[in-house]
Symmetry: C2
Subunit: 443 residues, 2 copies
């Protein structure tokens, strides 16, 4: 008999079915036992008519009841039975006359998965990720995360981007050497890529528009709620742009596509999480960095001119401004001072201290960074010299710009931080399947 | 003016357009210069009416001609002009009355990109990947590769699989310790994941069906045409199977989906490469390992009974058998001896020396491996003891099976080897954007 999923049961009333899943919860009454079986689709109620009191002689009923009494939560079972309507059961149906086969016996889980919220501490949940991830709320978060990635890709597929996979073991670092993981590469030193920055730029010279979904590695020595040592980077890079505005238009569509995919592909997860998906306006409001600082200055009565960057309090101010003035959860700040951005950021030729870099601010928090990049080898040489860095480690990087690169730019979205902001959770580890940090390398 | 792509030009005859791209080739005649401009879509012919001989006084025409004479291949240009029909031009159109803007001047490329085949040696091409990847034939290969990945994902999306991203920095090894890269993890030893095997099995306990597209790392000390140190692994794992046959059905659909996606998403690349896409039969012929050995034995008149594995010559024999007997480029061998398969392979309970492992053979070459896996902690404990390995490094792995895991199985497709087989190229490095091997860590 083909397996029926829990959510398909309402369409099978009156039929005999086979379901399979995990024992989510048992309720053992005097004359009957209820099993809630969890599968990938949801929960199913199973009724086993077997009284708790043993008959004077062992019957098949009493054997069955003894088996259920001994069953641990999270054991894997297969159940055949008949679907009947029952208004009081979840989804209005239940499986009766059930015959049970135990496929795998579980040790009792370290915390209750059937409660609405997991009550253990985060370290305990992470130590037991194999079990805690099974909780419906956690499953929902990762289903939404997968949908967001789908939206990222489908939006860029539709815009002529080519998907690429670039190496994570690299011979030199491109995002500054401070937080890099070193590895032994056949006896030579090598590093884990902090980002695919160099490769995606190089590949603009090949495909014009590229994206990559892959791991990025940062040896973050900070033990904070938003730092992890390995994250999923959603990277895009595009050529033949006029300036950063072309990139900002694509990023707007990508964010809208990610949110739409979450809503369309995982409506049940969205509903269960109580999440109201934010709306992305057709045009996201934009402020220049200098203009933003001026507005904040005049509002809070403090002279911020000359500040090289936005403080978190300033980003919150801007988030409130965008909501108040434009009814938007999103806003762009562009033109951050070149000195505070990555060395490959293109300066704004019309306002030299400022750059063609931008941040996307979501509800007062930085969500995505991007920029137009330098595209001429001589500009890279100049910038590296100006920053007082030695050229050697950058040679491969810069050489790729000697063979004709168009004006280009791009952005990177940290998937886990994106989900953290979207779901409003307080620790990025809650939206990372198996987080890596200063203290955690397992599971 | 909006940019027009090369392939859109036939729809714009009579109109003024702006195109942009790389100088693919120049032909400098006496009275006229032809530029072939390459963009992401293809090639466009541009005609500049400017005689080679300088007029007695510098004119705008002669300045323009001097500029074109000095232009290097691969420089990036923007051209405005009028599209006219010309039967002798590529795609039947050309851009005339052209005005040229140089966006980026290229150093002359180290080999000619306009020739039908790149003539440099493979090491030279790889050293200059930033340029060699621009060759239309190489671009085509990687576009087909991206399409294949799209087909992998869309097939599994349609079958209820959830996409996951699992850590690549791990605390212990799961595929044997021989070819593992070690790294410094905040002062502790760690390793690069040789596969997501442990994580995808664990996540079957969460989502039932999962897939991952991500890098896998093998410190291969072999300097061969098919070994690279970092490859893109397309992994799938599914729960609630009866045996390996359920996995083989999904793999059949995945391969068919990958090939269909290549054909549908990249018809131009397929046509240009001269590739005839293989057909995947609705049911791929299956032979048991023992049966296969017997058939080969009786054909070649050599007793192969007791052989623990198939030699390449045997796989070729089977490839010919499948084509001759079933008209199929594909065939499955199942039931390989347990002793020669990974420790997590499920034995065949009906034929104990054999396993529930299988290989997919494509035109006589192993293309994909898979199996049903062990799903009970006690089975892992027994197998690890039987293999004489110490339990410590496997503790995390095995503990994940203590909390209720269904019967499950899966497979992994090495993207680069898949493309190598499909395109019939002789070295896997030709279908890897930036290969990593014993000698190569850059670019």
């Amino acid at each position: 008999m083909q397996r029926t999923l829990a959510t398909q049961l309402p369409t099978r009333v009156g039929e005999k079915v086979r379901i399979a899943g995990w024992v989510h919860r048992r309720r053992l009454l005097k004359s009957v036992a209820f099993l809630i079986v969890r599968d990938a689709s949801g929960l199913a109620q199973v009724v086993v008519n077997a009284p708790a009191k043993l008959a004077s002689r062992p019957s098949s009923q009493s054997k069955r009841r003894a088996e259920i009494d001994a069953l641990t939560e999270e054991s894997v079972v297969e159940v055949t039975g008949t679907v009947i309507a029952n208004e009081t059961a979840p989804a209005g149906v239940e499986v009766v006359d059930a015959e049970l086969t135990v496929l795998s016996v579980a040790e009792p889980p370290p915390f209750d998965l059937y409660r609405p919220t997991l009550t253990a501490t985060l370290p305990t949940l992470l130590d037991h990720a194999d079990v805690s991830l099974r909780h419906p709320a956690r499953q929902a978060a990762f289903r939404m995360s997968a949908a967001a990635v789908h939206g990222f890709r489908s939006t860029l597929d539709g815009a002529g981007f080519v998907e690429v996979h670039t190496p994570k073991m690299v011979g030199s670092v491109t995002e500054g050497g401070a937080n890099v993981f070193a590895l032994d590469y056949f006896g030579r030193p090598a590093y884990l890529a902090q980002s695919p920055q160099f490769y995606k730029q190089t590949l603009v010279g090949v495909f014009e528009r590229v994206y990559e979904v892959g791991p990025a590695f940062r040896a973050e020595p900070h033990d904070t709620v938003r730092h992890i040592a390995e994250f999923t980077s959603l990277d895009a890079e595009m050529g033949f742009i006029r300036d950063q505005r072309d990139v900002m238009v694509v990023l707007r569509d990508v964010i809208a596509g990610m949110l739409a995919a979450v809503g369309e592909r995982e409506p049940a997860a969205v509903a269960a999480s109580g999440l109201e998906l934010p709306q992305v306006p057709g045009e996201i409001p934009i402020l220049h960095f200098a203009e933003a600082l001026e507005m904040i200055s005049s509002d809070i009565g403090e002279d911020l001119s000359g500040e090289p960057d936005l403080a978190p309090a300033h980003e919150r101010w801007l988030g409130e401004w965008a909501l108040r003035e434009h009814g938007s959860d999103f806003m762009y700040v562009e033109g951050y001072p070149t000195a505070k951005r990555a060395f490959y950021t293109h300066p704004d030729p019309d306002r030299p201290p400022y750059s063609r870099g931008f941040d996307l601010i979501f509800r007062g928090l930085e969500l995505v960074s991007g920029s137009q990049r330098l595209h001429r080898a001589e500009d890279y040489e100049r910038v590296i010299a100006e920053r007082g860095e030695s050229f050697g480690p950058y040679r491969t990087y810069v050489d790729a710009f000697r063979h004709g690169m168009p004006p280009h730019g791009g952005f990177a979205i940290g998937l886990e931080r994106f989900m953290m902001r979207l779901l409003g959770v307080s620790n990025v580890r809650e939206v990372t399947l198996f987080p890596r940090d200063l203290h955690r390398l397992s599971p």
